[in-house]
């Protein structure tokens, strides 16, 4: 049949579509993307990723200094605080490349911390910390609560309790902690703070457990706003950037699969000539491009600070992009067959990062439930 499908019927009570920035990359954004891609490919290839992930900290200060030199930490920081004052759209472009490279760089924690400090930091905190973050001299992590663990207690300026799954928590100088009484900044070298790296599925993004035993917290280290607001800001920014990262990761494994399917021959032909593989990769292209649209849209909405649309765009991106990355990374192993299941092949680095990231800010169905409330469904 060669008939065109019928036009989409238009509902009479359709919601207006939002009109955010164009869903394309500007020339400047393309240049940023290309530079980031080249740097990560040349300097943080998977051999280097493997080297770093085998170290105790999972972090290499030399790379951190190198990307600081390119201004990556500075991007989302206002110019008045030593930053470059780009929008989240540009940061998202960067994250797509970071995902493509499964780079073990503490950029996610840095972006969340930046967002928290910009929105909830006092003038002093901003002036003190943001320039140092921007320069790559200070690592700040955010303890986004997971599951239903109780928040550490803050009573009379003393902090006690435990937080788990703190991304980059073992290498951070400061950590944002949501306590029973507001959010605070805690230096990890304070007396009473113990930091234990966790055994993680994805070695490219270390997590730590932080325990606080009667740790003194000065009033100057209190953040503005409620603990919930601080956590929410970190989670929203984190989820949007992670969605973009996952899209980059998904694109990388998809390209890896296409390349392998083009060159690997069985039965005298490239395996990509078989519909079993070809159609899987075609379906995944559909899924990938759809995920990218959602991730880009969410980044632009975040950049625009459109609060109403954020309530829709973020859950969409957070649920769908995580699903897509996890599926495509798993399918990539299948396309590669046995070799894709080996430690020596890179497929597992992507699969583990995609699978672990998928759970970092709750599950896709958690985000869907959140969207349902927003949509009043």
């Amino acid at each position: 049949m060669t008939m065109p499908p019928p036009n989409h019927r238009v509902a009479t009570e359709a919601r207006p579509s939002s009109t955010i920035q164009s869903l394309t990359l500007t020339d400047e954004q393309r240049a940023l993307r290309d530079i980031a891609r080249s740097f990560l490919r040349d300097r943080v290839g998977t051999d280097e990723v493997r080297r770093i992930m085998a170290t105790d900290s999972g972090h290499d200060p030399a790379h951190w200094a190198a990307v600081a030199g390119m201004g990556w930490q500075a991007m989302a920081i206002p110019e008045e605080h030593g930053g470059a004052g780009y929008s989240w759209t540009e940061v998202a472009v960067l994250f797509e490349e970071v995902g493509r490279a499964v780079a073990p760089l503490p950029l996610l924690s840095t972006a969340m911390a930046t967002a928290v400090l910009v929105d909830h930091g006092t003038d002093d905190q901003r002036a003190t910390h943001l320039p140092r973050i921007s320069a790559g001299d200070l690592l700040v992590a955010v303890a986004v609560p997971v599951d239903d663990a109780p928040a550490p207690t803050l009573v009379d300026g003393r902090l006690s309790g435990t937080v788990r799954h703190v991304v980059d928590g073992a290498v951070a100088d400061l950590v944002v902690i949501a306590t029973s009484d507001g959010a605070v900044l805690v230096a990890t070298d304070r007396t009473g703070v113990s930091v234990t790296p966790m055994d993680v599925l994805d070695l490219t993004r270390p997590q730590a457990e932080l325990a606080f035993d009667d740790v003194e917290v000065a009033d100057a280290d209190r953040l503005a706003g409620s603990a919930d607001d601080v956590v929410e800001r970190a989670r929203i920014v984190g989820a949007v950037l992670l969605a973009n990262e996952q899209v980059g990761l998904a694109a990388a494994v998809h390209e890896m699969g296409v390349d392998y399917a083009t060159t690997r021959k069985q039965f005298g032909r490239a395996i990509g000539s078989f519909q079993a593989i070809k159609h899987l990769l075609a379906d995944n292209l559909v899924a990938l491009e759809a995920a990218r649209s959602l991730a880009w849209h969410a980044a632009r909405v975040l950049a625009d600070d459109d609060v109403e649309e954020l309530g829709i765009a973020v859950p969409m991106a957070a649920s769908r992009c995580n699903e897509t990355a996890a599926k495509l990374a798993a399918d990539n192993i299948q396309v590669h067959g046995g070799i894709g299941f080996t430690w020596e092949h890179d497929a597992h680095l992507y699969f583990k990062r995609a699978s672990s990231s998928r759970l970092l800010f709750h599950t896709p169905s958690w985000w869907r439930a959140r969207l349902a409330r927003t949509l009043d469904l």
């Binding site: 019928p6 995920a291 990218r292 969409m316 469904l377």
Partner: protein, 399 residues
């Protein structure tokens, strides 16, 4: 294109549109008269040459024109109803027809005085279109055509049809085809309604029995019908220039309505509904991104996935809506009535009918299997399969 040039074009275009609207106010102008004036103003297909309904602009301005006319309240149902002609036939004429034929045919096509249909598919040639068997045998200045076409929307009211025939069964299959514009009123053309599972007959079968087609109705060279047909198919949606549908429109609107009307509150159904809602947005935003990328001159793979994505999603959404309907999903309100929809009359829509109708989404306009081949081979660059029908005379291909 630089921003400056683009602004110049927009200014010029808006001037033309303003004048059309001023001279022929949509509120007080008969649609056919308005469409004629629109054609004469070059605003029918702005990417066509002047005097052919266009202004020689890029096709990406089509959407701008349609949106402005829509805002002004102009009836654009010609594009929806005569979609085969306006959406595909016009581009084929401009690319391949002699001037006289273009002068004769483009304007009445756009004004809907003449409806068009397309006769490519056959019972034996669906996904494998190039295998078609309708024969054309030349006798001097006319061709004698025999065969059967199928899935021919609008054939029962069409004045003209785009017809691909096999003129040389001894050539390999893509090379023995010849393309004609068929006078649907010619002797030997018989149109029969083809009822689908909804009982409606959106489509027809067309039987061609010793139909005489003058050679001057041929488009392209003898044996070059495949490339002309590709022109037709490649323009399948370009010329419509529709914008991106609004959020929550289409099948997902039915699902949301069923959710609301049935007072649902089950979390499992809710999760599924939201999942589909997100998928619909993902499709919509991808269409928006594709449109933005075309505008920016940086088109990518996001422009190739819509048909497949839409077809599979529409099936999923309409299927899930049946769950939301619950026992009502066992009904077919109004019952089955074997009939052909009338021109301009939108048949009653129910979620149950949409559920049935959606089954064809992954078949019509290229099956999902064919779409995946296309994405895999043309977009991803994966190699094709070994072909047993290549380098063999069409006559000898197993069928």
């Amino acid at each position: 294109m630089s921003q400056a040039t683009s602004n110049d074009v927009r200014t010029r275009l808006d001037f033309a549109i303003d004048r059309l609207l001023a001279d022929h106010p949509p509120a007080t102008t008969e649609p056919a008269a308005f469409w004629g004036a629109q054609f004469d103003a070059g605003l029918a297909w702005v990417h066509h040459p002047e005097a052919r309904g266009g202004l020689g602009l890029s096709p990406r301005w089509l959407t701008h024109v349609r949106e402005r006319l829509a805002t002004a309240g102009a009836d654009q149902s010609n594009v929806r109803f005569n979609i085969i002609g306006i959406g595909m036939g016009a581009a084929t004429l401009v690319a391949h027809a002699p001037d006289a034929m273009q002068d004769r045919m483009l304007r009445p096509m756009f004004t809907m005085e003449e409806v068009w249909c397309q006769m490519f598919s056959e019972p034996g040639a669906g996904s494998d279109l190039a295998d078609l068997a309708t024969s054309a045998v030349r006798e001097g200045d006319v061709w004698i055509v025999n065969g059967q076409k199928v899935w021919t929307t609008l054939a029962h009211i069409s004045r003209w049809g785009m017809l691909v025939t096999r003129s040389d069964p001894d050539a390999v299959k893509h090379r023995g085809l010849t393309y004609f514009i068929l006078d649907m009123q010619a002797d030997g053309v018989e149109v029969r309604p083809l009822h689908q599972i909804t009982a409606e007959a959106e489509f027809n079968e067309v039987y061609l029995d010793d139909v005489h087609v003058p050679d001057d109705m041929r488009l392209g060279e003898v044996g070059a019908g495949w490339s002309v047909a590709m022109t037709t198919l490649m323009n399948e949606r370009v010329a419509i220039g529709g914008g991106v549908p609004p959020r929550g429109s289409g099948a997902i609107a039915d699902a949301v309505a069923a959710w609301t009307n049935h007072g649902h509150d089950d979390p499992v159904l809710r999760d599924h509904l939201v999942e589909l809602w997100i998928e619909a947005e993902a499709l919509r935003l991808t269409s928006q991104r594709a449109a933005d990328a075309r505008t920016a001159g940086t088109p990518g793979p996001e422009g190739s996935t819509a048909k497949l994505h839409w077809a599979e999603l529409n099936k999923d959404v309409t299927t899930f809506t049946m769950d939301l309907l619950g026992a009502d999903g066992m009904l077919y309100p109004g019952g089955y009535d074997l009939h052909a929809p009338e021109m301009g009359v939108q048949p009653a829509q129910t979620p149950q009918k949409a559920f049935l109708r959606a089954r064809a989404n992954s078949i019509e306009g290229g099956t999902s299997q064919i779409m995946k081949n296309i994405l895999g081979e043309r977009v991803l660059g994966l190699p094709g399969e070994p072909r047993v029908d290549k380098d063999v005379p069409w006559r000898e291909v197993p069928r």
